[in-house]
Structure formats: C-alpha cells, structure tokens
C-alpha cells in the first residue's frame, strides 16, 4: 500500500510539473491542481498509513494520527481558493492580453500557428 500511494503521488507531481511547464494558462492551471493534489496526499500520509482505524484516542487500539487530516483539510481549502483565483486571473489575462500564452505573447502564438499551418501544408 505504501508503494501504491508513493507511486500515485509521484505520478501526480510528475504530471503536475510537466503541465506547469507548458506555455498556455489552461495546462498550467491543471498542472498546479495536480501538484497540489500530490502535496495534499503527501501531507495526509505524513501521519502514516493505517487501515480501518479511527482517529480518536481510546476508540481503537492503534488510532491513526488526526493532525495530518486537519492539516490536509486546511491545505485543500486554501488550494481550492487559490485555484479559483487563478482561473479568474487567467480569464482576465485572456481578455486583456488577447492570448492565453503565459507571457501574453500574441506574436509567439501567431508564429506557432503559422508553423502548424506550414506543417499541415507539407503533409
């Protein structure tokens, strides 16, 4: 189970980092979301993985650690608010800069589109 969770976190963070490095705002936002999912899961397991145990002392022989659960709730709420803000900001950037490139470069995008058209033409 530890291995499974570790692989999940690695995949989430890895895809998150890949997407954050893209040039358009939408993949960047998706990447940040995945990155924060990975981080949240990591916070959650910092109290160790235990199966079928409650988080209350005295209710079970080997209670799980409740603190990381409280921490991860806080982190999720903050991450959610930040992502919502970023979505609005990205929309406004699209409106004001006229492109969804992270640097707001209209020329660069036009160039890419021209390249794509040229590639299509060659095919």
């Amino acid at each position: 189970m530890e291995a499974l969770v570790a692989i999940i976190i690695a995949v989430l963070v890895g895809s998150g980092v890949y997407l954050v490095l893209r040039a358009r705002t939408f993949p960047v936002i998706l990447g940040l979301t995945l990155l924060s999912y990975g981080a949240n899961l990591f916070v959650f397991i910092s109290g160790r993985l235990k199966l079928d145990q409650v988080a209350v002392v005295g209710q079970s022989a080997d209670p799980t650690d409740p603190l990381p659960q409280a921490l991860v709730l806080t982190a999720i709420v903050i991450g959610f608010a930040m992502t919502a803000f970023l979505v609005v900001l990205a929309l406004r950037a699209q409106g004001e800069l006229g492109s969804d490139h992270v640097d707001g470069q209209r020329d660069a995008l036009d160039g890419e589109q021209q390249d794509e058209q040229q590639n299509k033409g060659r095919r």
Partner: protein, 496 residues
Amino acid sequence: MSNWIMAPILIPALAGMMLLLEVRERHWLRRVTGLTATLALVPVSILLFRQAATGDIQVYSLGDWPAPFGIVLVLDQLSALMVLLTSVLAVPALLYASHGDDRLGPNFHSLFQMQLMGINGAFLTGDLFNLFVFFEVLLIASYGLALHGRGPARVRAGLHYVVLNLIGSAVFLLALSLIYGATGTLNMADFAARAAELEGPALTLVKVAGLLLCVVFGLKAALFPLYFWLPATYASATAGVAALFAVMTKVGIYALLRVHGLAFSDGALAGLGDMALWTVSLLTLGLATVGVFGARRLGELVAYLVVMSVGTLVAALAWGTEEAISGALFYLLHSTLICAGLFLLADLVSRGRGDAGDTLMAGPRPPAAGLLGALFFIGAVAVAGLPPLSGFLGKVMLLQAVPAPLYWVLILAGGLLAVVGLSRAGSTLFWRAGEPMADVVLNKGRLAAVIVLLAMAPAMVLLGGPLSAVTQSVAAQWAQPDLYIHAVLGYPGGAQ
C-alpha cells in the same frame, strides 16, 4: 503576561472585515477606517517592542492548548522589531495610496488590512503550519493588491507571480509534511529541540525538508534563481502597494532567519544550507547589480535595488555570526524603508511626466523638480550606501562583520554601479528634461508620504547609536535559540 501580542493580528483582521461591510461608494469612510487601523498599529507595536526589549520572550497559547500541541504566538525581540518595521512602513504607504490610487478598484483598503494581518501573523507565529497559513493570507491579499488597478502589464506580471507562489505553496506543504512525518511536530521550538537529536533516515528526511524550506523562503525573499518575478511585479504594481511589498521580501528573510537560528544553528542540522545560501545570495547580489545598471524604468531600477538588498542580507545570514546578523538587521530596516520611499517617489515623478512615465528617457520636467530631485538625491545616496546616510552605516557594519573578500568586492562594486545607475537615472529625469507639462500639480499628501519615508535615512544616522544597540540586542537573543525553546516549551499553561 499581556494579550497585546494578539493586537497586531486582530486590529487589521477586524478592520479588514469592517471595510468589507462598507459597500457604498463612501471612500472617505474607507480611508478613515483603514488609516485609523494602520495608525493604531504603530503604538501597539511600539508597546510590544518595549515589552520584548526587556529580554523576556512572551508566549501566547491560542485556545490555552499547551505548547507543542496547540498553536503558539511568540514575541521575541526579532519578531517585535519586524512588526514595528511593518507598521512604520504601512502608514506612509497607505497615506500615499489614499490620495487617489485606492479608488482604482473596489476593496483596496480591505485587502491592505488583510495583507498587514498576514505579514504580522507570519512574524509572530511560533508554529510552522501556522506560518504556512499566514503566508497564504498575505499572498492572497498581495495577489489582489498587485492586480489593483487595471492594465495588461499588471495582469501579465500578476499571473507569473501567482503561479510561482502557488508552486511555492505546494513545496512548502511537502516540506512541512516531511518535518511532521520525521519529527512528529510542527511547533518551531519543539522541532528545533527534536531536530538536534535526530539521526539515521529521519535526519536525512529533515535535511531535505530544511532545504525545501530554504527554497520556499528563498522564493518569497526573491533569491537567485527565484527573483525573476520581482522586478516586473513590483514595477507594475501601484506605488503604495509596491512600497508595502518592500517588506514582503523581508518576510522571507525573517522566516529564513527564524528557522535558521532555531534549528540550523547547532545540533544535527548545524550549518544546513549555509554554503548554498552564501553562493546563491552572492549571485543574487551580482545579478541585481547588473539589473540596476540596465533598468529602463525607474520602478524597475528600485525593484532591482530591493533584490540587491536581499542578496546583501542573505549573505550575512549565511555567514551567521552575531555581528553579521546585527548589521544585517540594521541594513534590513534601512533598505526596506528607503526602497519603499523610492517606489513612491518613482510614481510621483512619473505622474508629472505624462506619457514618458517613469521610463529613463528625456521627457517633460516633473513639477517641483528641485524638491523631487533633492528627495531623489537623498534616497539615491542612502540606498547606494554613500556617506553620510543610513545605507553607509549599514554597509560598514556588514563589511566589518563579514570579512570575506568576495563579499567586499560585490558590495563595493555593487555600490559603485548603483551610484552610476542612479545618477544616470536622476540626471535623465531631472536635468535633461524638457518643458514641464501645463496642468500637473504636485499632490501634497503624496509628497508628505515620500518625505516621511526618505527622512528615515538621516533619522537612522542620527539615531545610529541607539538603533545599532537595539539590533545588537536582537541579534544576541537570536543567537541563543535555547532561550526561545525554553520560553515556548517551559510554560505549561497559556496566557497567565
């Protein structure tokens, strides 16, 4: 033990919420509320500083939960000094913004108060996760403030700023959970006490976490290679906001100082990241000097001066002796206030130049060019570190405390290049200027805010003796983490 330690967090929190209730377009009411709350912070932080100056470390347990389990607020001399600096900076910044800039968008005053709450909370908290939460509070307020007033440049810079800080938050969370997983605590004092005795795999994990924390705080402080967001964000923000942001990089430096002083001073983690911070801060210093030299706008130039001060400060931190920290604290006070003053001045100048704005090209002569030029001269002399103003004193203290040839070369060469860059900027703006524009009047309130901040340069020299005694005493307390750890873990109860 008093409850006043809560006031620097509660006053802006309450004022910020009250300002949200005010929905009608009564700007004077918002201004009065915001300014009153900000002014109220000054006597409170002076009171707290006087309490801390006695040498006692005050610990306030929230909800009366005993220290390693509940969240604590801790007031020692370092946090009291930083809270005092914030309140002294916030008043002129808000005063400047209240002369028009606050009407560019709704809720400016509320965001400003929330920003103050986050900054003060980050300075006062004694818990690592609580530090994360206060960082997020100050960040989300700063996102709003950085984007305050419209414009494509602001949106583009703001987007980079937000994305970078969101990545920083994720890394912060990873570091925190590593620390919790390895030591079972997030209380700073408890963490420091336990980290000293770690060994084996847990020690490796905590070392990784410690270095991750350095990366996060380095991002907030704008260290190489994490400073590229700063010049664009600060130069495009409205002036009052940029002035307040001058203390934001110092939040990162404070967090580095705090964690460094507590956990990385001795024990198993001694000297963690020192070499990396030293190298990186010297690189920051060198590259920021190039930035100052090559800036094309006055706001950008001042932003690079902020980065330069960060490099100067973190190098002293990595050097790590008590004298170096004392000099660094003096330099921190000076550079925060003077850079804030220069941000305001840059805006004041650009308002008198029409389309030329604050670009460093010949344009119309700003109104009252003599007075503004004199103010710019004072600010430039102070920030470049020429005698007789405060920057010179700070740099002398730092150079005495850090006898490393490379540091001397970078500081002195940086100072020289800053002088060249600043005098080129000044002569372009004030001497090579054409006819003044017809209908521009200098706003007295804005001018007053600039004068208050730049007057700190001579004031810090006149009060140089007492001030350096204060920074020495702060550094002496910082160098004895046992006092802090004992104060937090020693008292079982809460506020008594």
